[in-house]
Amino acid sequence: MPLFSLKDVRFKEIIQYPYIEIPEGCATFISGGSGCGKSTLLKLLNGTVSADSGEILYAGKHIEAYNPVTLRREVLLCGQSVFLFDGSIQENFSEYYKYRDLSPLAQEDVHGYLKLCAALFPLGADCAAMSGGERQRVFAAICLSLRPKALLLDEPTSALDDNTANTVMTNIKTFCRENNITLIVVSHNKALAETFADHVIALGGGQYE
């Protein structure tokens, strides 16, 4: 059984999805031109927006049957616009954990997740002073550390150079496979998809060219 399946899904009269199946436990990449609904697809999957018609099944059950907040904690979206609180990395981890009603992560664990995302900065480093790429990696580390069942990444490497992007994706993919986390990635980077995708979904006729 696929983890997600979409049938006849429409969103706001503009976006119409083909029949989509997303298998469990592997890395699925979503391709397509801008405006074809890649980011919206991720939002539909974690229930931050609802489809106007059609059905989305998650683990065999209609997505609307789940408690929306519980669903988002299982199907976590690491969005395109990175947000970090003013303060250190450690403070950012604990702020996000507070919003999720979780007790703060031990320092070694924070360190481990930062390492996975090639963001080995001191825990006291001020996030406001970081570059876009550094913030993106810290944000990804926070999302990863929340250990969802499915991790949705929207342009996770948009601010990273190719080498760093490869390291981060290799680590994230390995971590997800080891922990049986389904990885769904929207990325316009063709090389990244070729290297890391187990499965590609092309939207709006757009393929990686």
Binding site: G47, V69, R72, L76, C78
Partner: protein, 258 residues
Amino acid sequence: MSEVISLNIWQFSLIYLLLIVVLIIMKKCRINQTKLLFVASLRMTVQLVLAGLVLTYIFQNPRPLFTVLYLMVMTGFAIFIVLSRNKSINKQFKIIVGASLASTGLAIVCFFIMVVVGVSLFNPQYTIPISGMIIGNAMTGVGLGLRTFNESIKARRSRIDALLNIGATPRKILLPFVNQSLETALLPTLNSMIGMGIISLPGMMTGQILSGTLPMTAILYQIAIIIAICAVTCLAVFCSLYFGYKTLYNKRQQFINL
């Protein structure tokens, strides 16, 4: 204490000469607001004269209906002004703001007039000026609170989205905005309390002293009204935002009209 001196209308009109000074300075500094100065002075004069006429009539014919009507019109205007300055909020939110402003304003007015002063709510000499101060301040507070709330939500959209995406509840995401806006709305009142009596003698107290009230009586009224203003600002902003923020998301915990 000496009786209050009624202003002679010709002597009184000399005060308008001061506006000519303002006009000259504005011309000199090329401030293109001479039209506003003119319109504002004219409106202020006409509106106050009308209010004076209405109050004279009501005081001579103190019927409960007039006082109630005055209260309703005043509250209605206050709600209208707040909402016309915050057009972007949704309809449900507007209803909540209106209801909060009216109910908290009238509750504090009733408490002040009936319990603290101890006269009938239908006594226009007390109810009209005091409700004017209370509801006027509630209006300013709610206006400021709402504007802060809306602006900070718009400015921190990425924070709101990121937190929603990782599974925080909309309630937890929005409450800090409610708290911060309430604080912003309360600060002017709290700050003005600090300088009171040293830097300024507040308006109501000045008026009472001018009309011959003993200073110690005047300060008791002033203290009471300031506390009432502080309370009504706090209550009106709290109710507006605390019940209003819930209109920003649906049952599926998705943000709407944001």
